[in-house]
Amino acid sequence: MASVEFANVRKSFGTHPVIKGVDIEIADGEFVILVGPSGCGKSTLLRMLAGLENISAGEIRIGGQVVNNLAPKERDIAMVFQNYALYPHMTVADNMAFSLKLKGAARSEIDKRVKPAAEILGLTPLLDRFPRQLSGGQRQRVAMGRAIVRDPQVFLFDEPLSNLDAKLRVAMRAEIKELHQRLKTTTVYVTHDQIEAMTMADKIVVMHDGIVEQIGAPLELYDQPANLFVASFIGSPAMNMIKGKLDPDSALKFKSESGVELPVAKAPESAKGRNLIYGLRPEHMTIAAGGIPAEVVVIEPTGSETQMIMRVGTDLVTGVFHQRISAKPGEKIGLSIHAEATYLFDAETGKRLV
């Protein structure tokens, strides 16, 4: 087990920069998730850590040792690929034992390592099967088994759940998290799915366009997003964003472009007169007669909660309510907004002001 550090890491393909100076510190035993939309450079960053892509500038350290010029096999890391990359011509047991065989480990030693790993992952009855004969979830487990057997310094996961169906994904999510709690090996995990990031990570790194937007614990990112990108990326359904300005007459009022007045908890001096974006999470509102007028557009009951898309002025706002609502599309209702849970972002820089 080891810590991992990225120090001002850069990467360009030809003249095209993909990673534009990334600094991340990962403590020993931490479960860190790199998350971001496709093309943000998260997978490239992971592959650079694995040694599959070279590093254009900066340093990557594993356990304090600079690994920029080490071959993948010298870095003592194990990776689970998106397509699992199981060797199709080897049985499950041989897949898991491959790295040990290459090291020239004795048959008994290999058994001693493969058997417990297979036991942990419930693969024991499948050891003689070939990858083609396995289901998606089983292949996923074999890929993890291959990593566990290595007992590496760091585990790398590259979108490991994206080829699974929704139900299996939730199950494997819990399995991977439990595995990490048991083995406590430093883990770097890449995904584009913010729910995976929120549920599994000790620490999330939100990436966008080759840079790190914010690093923090899941709820920290949720409660205190540094900027518009993180605020809109984390959370589902996404945060409502409404353009407008602070009301010059009354300090604790935000006036949207269509003239609707929305409450704010505090309004710093710097925000006055600027173009702002008002951020409101869907769960931070309730229905109240005489509140802010809204018109129901779409209503989506999911059983445990009700999602509603409403028109407030000209803006569409999504709300999540824990009670069942019998409103009809087109109906006028009133909204009460929890002012202390709202955000204000600078419309030009995207930075959060409140």
Binding site: N83, Y87, H89, P131, R132
Partner: protein, 303 residues
């Protein structure tokens, strides 16, 4: 009622299917089954050019069994096929591996590699004929200029030299087919397998030995079967370069069969020699049949 109609539907479907198969069947009958059957029949007759033969049983084969030239041709054919195929496989695989790397002008090289394969055999054989010429050989001339040899090499005049020369020409011509086919096979191996193996600690050689080679075996089996069939039945190269000489030293079964049957006029004997190739060809087809069977790891499930 419905059973009857579905039955007649199935029947009419079959009829339509058979109808559409007719052209292909007629083609195969005329150009494959008939010549093959005729060849086998001629082998049992004493037909000569201009005279229908009469059935003489296995007399032709008995004569061949005592014929040292025939056995020489069999030996030559097996030797020729074996050595040329091994060399073609070795060089072809090597070339495919090189072309699979990230080279500049990769597609240009891939295209140019095919040249020996697309040039008509007779043309390239004529070129080799000059290269191997007893007096004007460029090879002899170059070696003499360097000072490695004193006089020109008798490439096609000495039995062993002649065998080596025709094998070299055949290898040159056959490499592109093997190389391009294996390259296609190499490209079906996902990059992530190599990445996984290198993370697992495999060296370049180990990746080749444990990933590339086992995943390539199905394609190697197909390609080498075809290569063996082409080489075993080779005719043009030998006929242009040596006509089977010197003193029958490079006669293959195909050239000997032609020699006896057409210029020699002994159609029956020529046909018998051609038929004698069939067991060898069947053997290599059987080999490929078992080689091509889906391996256990390729069975079951979908990707």
């Amino acid at each position: 009622m419905s059973a009857v109609s579905s039955n007649s539907f199935a029947r009419s479907n079959t009829a339509v299917g058979l109808f559409f198969m007719l052209p292909a069947a007629a083609f195969l009958l005329c150009f494959l089954t008939y010549p093959l059957g005729l060849g086998v029949w001629l082998g049992f007759t004493d037909a000569k050019i201009g005279r229908d033969g009469i059935f003489i049983g296995i007399e032709n084969y008995q004569a061949l069994a005592r014929d040292s030239v025939f056995w020489m041709a069999v030996y030559n054919t097996v030797l020729y096929t074996f050595i040329a195929s091994v060399l073609k496989f070795g060089f072809g695989l090597w070339l495919a591996l090189i072309l699979n790397e990230h080279l500049p002008f990769k597609s240009f090289f891939r295209a140019i590699i095919l040249l020996p394969w697309v040039v008509p055999t007779v043309l390239s054989a004529l070129a080799f004929w000059w290269i191997y010429d007893a007096q004007f050989s460029i090879l002899s001339w170059s070696l003499m200029q360097i000072g490695w040899i004193d006089g020109p090499i008798n490439f096609l005049g000495d039995p062993n030299n002649a065998r080596a020369s025709v094998i070299a020409a055949n290898v040159w011509r056959g490499i592109p087919f093997v190389a391009i086919s294996l390259l296609a096979g190499l490209q079906t191996i996902p990059q992530s397998l190599h990445e996984a193996a290198s993370l697992d600690g495999a060296t370049g050689w180990q990746r080749f030995r444990f990933i590339t080679l086992p995943m390539l075996t199905p394609i190697i089996a197909v390609v080498m079967t075809f290569s063996v069939l082409f080489t075993f039945t080779d005719f043009q190269l030998i006929y242009v370069l040596t006509k089977g000489g010197p003193v029958n030293a490079t006669h293959l079964m195909a050239t000997l069969s032609f020699q006896r049957g057409i210029p020699g006029g002994q159609l029956g004997e020529g046909a018998a020699i051609a038929v004698a190739m069939i067991p060898f060809l069947l053997a290599s087809i059987l080999f490929s049949f078992f080689g091509l069977q889906r391996r256990k790891w390729q069975q079951g499930g979908q990707d």
